[in-house]
């Protein structure tokens, strides 16, 4: 499976792998939102360490979850983005509003 969800206090950690495109985003969005609500989470960290492909549908998915965390006064962070993924991520302008970390552990450290 291309997604695993973990909870660390009020942080929802979303570990993704494989390709993130319109097809996979449609499957993952609701799972992330359900888990976020059910566990009364505040923050979300996306771990892209195992992701090999991301297009603008994936950018849309990050923006949508970011909006949810803003509503709860929480933060969104992204971690582990490789070179190719960083390219489209930086192009989207999200790097100005969402913090980006080399590793998941750094992101967890910061957001707690």
């Amino acid at each position: 499976m291309g997604i695993s969800l973990e909870k660390d206090n009020r942080v929802l950690i979303v570990k993704l792998d494989g390709d993130i495109d319109h097809h996979t985003v449609e499957k993952y969005k609701n799972r992330i939102d359900d888990e976020y609500e059910k566990n009364n989470c505040k923050h979300i960290i996306f771990d892209f360490g195992q992701v090999g492909f991301l297009d603008s549908s994936g950018i849309g998915m990050i923006i949508g979850r970011y909006k949810n965390t803003v509503q709860k006064n929480g933060k969104t962070a992204v971690a582990g983005m490789g070179e190719c993924i960083l390219r489209i991520y930086n192009m989207s302008g999200l790097s100005k509003i969402i913090d980006q970390y080399d590793s998941l552990s750094e992101a967890v450290e910061y957001i707690k």
Binding site: D19, D21, H22, H23, E26, C84
Partner: protein, 147 residues
Amino acid sequence: MEILNEVNIVMDAKSENESFARMVAAGFIARLDPTLAELNEVKTAVSEAVTNAVIHGYDSENLGKISLKLTLDSDNTVTIIISDNGKGISNIEEAMQPLYTSKPEMERSGMGFTVMEMFMDSTDVSSEKGLGTTITMTKKLRASGDE
């Protein structure tokens, strides 16, 4: 300029074919030994255009077909034509504006055309309302391939 290779594929407008189209494009240019960056750019541009056909052309209802045509020229230029027979675009200029989307409720980022334009050398859009949309993109690979 000589055409070295050509591939024509017609697929159902299903979201699972987005990754299939990317793999076809990646396989098609593999003989040119592209850089990782070039490979990623071509895959992303194809993904954007095919996704648009599924979501916007046919409103995600899987009612039609998408055609993918790949051509490789002797000067290392790949031409990618992606077309649908869906609803078409009434205002192409507006559609191509960065961040414009007609489906904000679907959490679209409106970045698709911008990505195609940034990642390919040329991106041409032709469309007619009610008849469909054709995206033509070219990219010259600076790859070493074909020694």
